[in-house]
């Protein structure tokens, strides 16, 4: 059977950001994949060296729109590791609330997109509707639906007002009911299960070898989560669990995210109710020469910042590693061997954030499929499965 190449990218409606995946297919099976990145490369690490330590917080917030507070949290953790300063307790609770609300809205967005990729537009519309009140909480708290500008080295910039607290508690209660419903509805739908189960499997060994993080890793049985392994903010002061599942397929990655939303709701609720009074920041007097390493469990996994100081006002080196950098290469083992119709979903299952990673891919060959054709293939597969199940009942 002749080898054909299927391009997904670089600019295409199926993925939110430009990147290029070259899939080599024989018939309907994917036999190889090449990933090229760099379309969103903006030179942020070099730019950081021209900013002061405080300004760098705002710079890294703009690395990503959807995980916007993840980079600032990791960065301020790094500056606090460098200077030995600890933020006051109230600031730690506010950091945890911000981080978890972000996880909730990011996962809801992903669930909607996954639904869209397989033709379940109802799931898409509903999850994005559930997402709106969470963004409203952010807007009332920080003034913005994304890019909240809450973090600063040593503490937080804004307080969480009392009236927003009550509103947020109500939003959490409503969302919890909606998520419990979703958590039961997905396994009940045979077509969804058929589309997601045993698709794009990432084994435990491969997850370790690629350094996979985030929901991708626990879905393959790798129980890691920076919030538990190296606690920061208020994560060790409230009760919650890490969700781990064994199979590593898209279904497990889906369920891990649904259950993580429920855990995040628990964290936000406890933080809102238990948040102590007090200062919002500990002043950092100086940045001594040295280095700091800070991490945060973003919605997509561990964000890692390394900050080097030579005693001046600016970072001498600021290395940023976003979780998708380690997760996207796993596509090499999860896509290969699968069907073309599953490729788009498998690539999306690690919840790639390209702005965080800067990726691109190239395609060549005789046959070219556009993005529309790929979505069409995916939806057609769902329709075939639906017809099969309808025929049975």
């Amino acid at each position: 059977m002749a080898r054909k190449v299927v391009p997904i990218g670089p600019f295409h409606p199926l993925q939110e950001e430009p990147e290029f995946f070259r899939l080599y297919v024989e018939g309907e099976r994917v036999v190889d994949i090449d990933i090229e990145i760099g379309y969103n490369h903006r030179g942020i690490e070099l730019l950081s060296e021209t900013k002061t330590f405080d300004q760098a917080t705002f710079l890294v917030e703009r690395i990503c729109g959807i995980c916007s507070t993840s980079h600032p949290i990791a960065y301020v953790n790094a500056t606090e590791d460098l200077t030995g300063v600890k933020p006051p307790p109230r600031a730690e609770y506010i950091r945890a609330i911000t981080g978890e609300l972000e996880r909730i809205h990011s996962h809801l967005l992903w669930i909607g997109l996954a639904g869209h990729f397989i033709g379940y537009n109802t799931v898409w519309m509903w999850t994005w509707k559930y997402r709106e009140p969470v963004l409203d909480v952010f807007e009332r708290f920080s003034g913005n639906r994304n890019h909240y500008a809450v973090m600063k080295p040593g503490g937080v910039r804004r307080d969480f007002p009392e009236d927003v607290k009550d509103f947020a508690l109500k939003v959490m209660d409503d969302l919890e009911k909606e998520m419990m419903w979703l958590a039961k509805a997905v396994p009940d739908d045979p077509v969804l299960v058929a589309r997601l189960k045993d698709v794009g499997v990432l084994t435990y060994e491969d997850a370790r070898a690629y350094g996979a993080v985030g929901p991708t890793a626990p879905a393959s049985g790798l129980a890691i989560d920076v919030r538990k392994d190296e606690p920061y903010a208020a994560y060790d002061k409230v009760k919650w669990d890490v969700v781990v599942l064994p199979n590593g397929d898209v279904y497990d990655k889906f369920i891990v995210r649904v259950l993580e939303i429920l855990e995040s709701i628990k964290i936000v609720r406890q933080c809102l109710l238990e948040m102590p009074e007090g200062d919002l920041e500990t002043k950092i007097e100086e940045y001594p020469p040295g280095e700091g390493i800070g991490r945060h469990e973003a919605p997509r996994g561990e964000v890692f910042h390394y900050v080097r100081s030579e005693g001046g006002n600016n970072p001498a080196r600021h290395k940023v590693r976003a979780p998708s950098y380690n997760n996207i290469p796993t596509a090499k083992v999860t896509c290969v061997g699968g069907h073309i119709a599953d490729a788009a979903l498998t690539l999306a299952s690690v919840d790639p954030c390209y702005c965080c990673t800067e990726r691109l891919v190239v395609v060549d060959g005789n046959r070219r499929l556009t993005a529309q054709e790929l979505i069409k293939l995916s939806i057609e597969k769902t329709e075939r499965l639906r017809a099969k199940y309808r025929g049975r009942s």
């Binding site: 760099g38 070898a209 890691i224 190296e230 890692f304 950098y325």
Partner: protein
């Protein structure tokens, strides 16, 4: 035995271990030993590879390979210096797939050659950059015209 004790026990004089805090460990080593230490951390101690950073300092290119020991929450960073006049080091990416991309990135931005790397291509910038385009090096001018960047 703790991870630090294990590392000291296995490598003895070939490393200098510095515990900056209970969660931050730095292992200084010669560049020829880095692959062995890295694989020991990954295979024997069960660490997870996080990323690698490179800093251009007066002593040379300082490369740190960061590993995370998730059971204890420690970050163990293996530090080595690669001299400016001979910027080569054996690739860890050829043995551990998680390291492949970051070694490409360090080559791309600093010009450090990772010997034995399976895929030595540019990662983040386009292929039409001139071969000496390593923008993080301290001796690279920070501003150039577009034609100069493109090697014209």
């Amino acid at each position: 035995m703790s991870a630090v004790e294990n590392i000291k026990g296995k490598f003895g004089d070939r490393v200098r271990v510095f515990e900056r805090s209970d969660r931050r460990v730095y292992v200084d080593a010669e560049r020829k030993d880095v692959v062995e230490i890295g694989l020991y951390l990954y295979k024997d101690l069960g660490c997870r590879f996080v990323t690698a950073s490179c800093v251009d300092t007066r002593r040379g290119f300082e490369i740190l390979y960061h590993f995370s020991l998730d059971e204890t929450g420690q970050v163990i960073s293996v530090r080595t210096i690669v001299p400016h006049d001979d910027p080569t080091i054996e690739s860890l990416g050829k043995d551990l797939v998680a390291v492949e991309w970051i070694e490409r990135e360090i080559w791309e931005f600093f010009g450090v050659e990772f010997q034995g790397h399976p895929d030595p291509r540019r990662l983040l910038t386009s292929e039409d950059r001139p071969p000496d385009f390593h923008p993080f090096r301290r001796d690279m001018p920070r501003t150039r015209s577009e034609d100069e960047w493109r090697g014209k």
